[in-house]
Symmetry: C3
Subunit: 318 residues, 3 copies
């Protein structure tokens, strides 16, 4: 979560997406996102990446192997002690869900931010309208529902129970759209008085979801309430509220059990958007027939070949 | 015109170049060039652009429609009250006219500006010579007349009545060459004691012309006049002089007449190079047979599909 | 040499590499590297470059001719009076020589510099290890010997008499790797207590060699000597020492003799890394049968077509 508690990022990479995944005990690790990004950028495009952490260790290791095994790199990063209450991501039914080409959404956010600071996103049956207003003028961009396209990634699909109109800071939206290279489509889910969810799928593995609290529109406020402060700073109407989850500490100190499936890694940024809590999770379904000695081996181990095109950048939510 | 009255830009887009063009009354609108650029940059490469202004309105609307009509954007920009005397572009016969590849001219201006601040452009029958001098040394680049090329856009053609040699500030020239992506060829027209004209054609629609007053060469000055100030700042020998044109205000208040052809839009930067006066003109030849009611419709309306390669940038003449 | 006497660059371009090369007398010329770079960047990709200097002149001329001869540029650069003792490049037998893909070496230096300031390069029979340590963690990259590759430029070849482990400032290494576009392979030659040599071949013409004095590793120092200053600045253990060479001044004033072969141009940066002494050399083997009058012609003249891909940048060793 960013320091002003307006935005939150959640990244999920399911265990099935890894070539090799092993997690003997649920682990929560605090990491500096900037430092993690520095290290992951050292991986080559075709490298096999292995992420390893020992039980109780204060560091995590990123291993990069070239396809020919001629170049092997070990990057060891110090973990952080994050004084964290666990963040519960709000689950909700949304009144309006828009799915559209991610590049188009990115372009709209970028274009509008040259005119104004905030965007009003209004969903009706006809389409979704993005509006802004600034010193130099106003801008309105309407995207119509469009399902009859040659390529499914070019479709714009609107599912709507209620018309919704919410205002957001474009600065955050432009941070979110840095995830555009991850997926052809973006999903924007909105309900009145709830944070918007901007979601990009990550291959078949999971997703990255950005939550952003809406702002109170200046005009509405002054119209409805009082004309006393016509130019006050627009303030968030709704804070992103997260219920601290119970963490079962006894669970965490249980004896080592080998598990195989349905383990999920969840990445959440917290506190000030510069650090992350990484939860590596296991399910308590025991592994049939395996009883290998795992002493001295890393507690968490996952191996995958990530194919990047070098354009993905790390989100910097301030 | 820039604030020091040394440079002037004129852009003409003829009505024939637009798919749809309508102008019921001559209109002059003041615009902030930077703001207009911000808005026009929001158009997609394949978008259909419509520019609209109502009579007496204090704003202009840029409308961008995607080819599939799925995305429609309206950008409304506030107009400026520019206290303007109308700029008359000097018409003249030029002693020397050089037509050459625009990329080559841009490259020469860029290269020379790494060595010195000013360029001497000398035209003789043999060719055109660009020279500069700086702290680190000197540079001379000669381009010979060359009409026997495979592609006409690679030709260098020199039409000359009199040899001409004039000195210009490279800083302005480098601003002008930002228009290079517009045309394969640039035309440089020079006469002694007159501003140079650097012209790029804009498709089949018109042109952008840059006027720049020559400088007095330091050496000439000190040689001819007095050795008292050998290192004085080089000053413009000739100011760009513009005769304020008579604007027929009665013409502007004439009753609305629908016209169809030979309407031309002219764009001139003025005052400080950051704002522009846009004149949308009509000819008084009445449209045969049409007598449509135009009440409530925009007074000026033009629609075209501009194909850009994303490399054209807005000139910033200071 | 850079101002702190830690790094030195030597560039050799042999006369055979030029289409035309003429040098009547050994010449040593002081040049500002930044200014020379500015001028050379003005050459087009397909231009024929001629470098000319007259005897006793205080300037050098770079001439660029387009293939069609339609554009001819002369750039004349002022020479510098460098108060120089001649730099003798240390010749040595090296205990370990690593040849590897230049892009891989560049990538490793770039990656490690995101983690730490210095790199430990350790050569053993198994491979070469690059290690660093910083505030955020540690990194080790091992490249194994690999000669069985499809393309020879992808090979990693290690010739080793003794295992060597030396520490270097990554800042300098990253300056050196700007030469990467020159050659597919880089050669790293190391001996204990000697400067490392990082060499890139320049086509069939010569080479550019970078010399860098190793640093004393902090841990070693504190372990071996005293724990009094655990966090002192790491200082160079070995200075790059250069013996001033004797310059035969009489040789330089010998009568003009035309020579043809085995002339070599050597470029060395000196004093503070911003200026260069360029030695244009001749062999005293007289040219058979030629006795042309050379009065008024340039003493040094060389002509070549350099093919660049526009990516080569000038090294800025501070």
């Amino acid at each position: 979560m960013d320091s002003s508690h307006v935005a939150l990022v959640a990244l999920l990479l399911r265990s099935e997406g890894f070539d090799h995944y092993r997690c003997d005990r649920n682990l929560s690790m605090g990491m500096n996102l900037g430092n993690m990004a520095k290290m992951l950028k050292c991986a080559g495009n075709d490298d096999i990446i292995t992420i390893k952490a020992d039980d109780g260790s204060d560091s995590i290791t990123f291993m990069f192997e070239s396809p020919t095994q001629d170049k092997i790199a070990d990057f060891e990063m110090k973990l952080m002690d994050i004084d964290s209450e666990h963040l519960g991501i709000p689950e909700a039914e949304y009144e309006a869900i828009v799915r559209m080409p991610s590049t188009e959404f990115a372009r709209i956010c970028k274009d509008l931010s040259t005119i104004g600071d905030t965007v009003v996103i209004s969903v009706t049956k006809e389409g979704v309208k993005f509006s802004t207003r600034g010193d130099i003028g106003t801008a309105n961009i309407v995207c119509r529902q469009n399902t009859s396209v040659d390529k499914p990634e070019e479709a714009t699909i609107i599912e709507m129970q209620e018309p919704v109109s919410l205002t957001f800071a474009l600065r955050y939206m432009n941070s979110f759209t840095k995830a555009t290279p991850l997926a052809n489509q973006v999903t924007i889910s909105m309900s009145s008085d709830l944070p918007v969810v901007v979601e990009y799928k990550v291959a078949e593995m999971g997703y990255i979801r950005f939550y952003l609290a809406p702002k109170i529109e200046e005009d509405e406020e002054t119209a409805a309430h009082a004309p006393s402060q016509p130019n006050t700073e627009v303030k968030p109407k709704v804070k992103v509220e997260y219920q601290p989850q119970e963490i079962d500490l006894e669970e965490a100190s249980k004896p080592l059990v080998e598990n195989k499936t349905e383990v999920a890694a969840k990445l959440e940024t917290e506190t000030n958007g510069e650090v992350a809590i990484i939860d590596v999770k296991m399910e308590s379904k025991p592994l049939e027939g395996t009883d290998l000695e795992k002493e001295g081996k890393p507690l968490v181990e996952s191996k995958t070949k990530l194919e990047t095109n070098g354009e993905v950048e790390v989100m910097d939510v301030e």
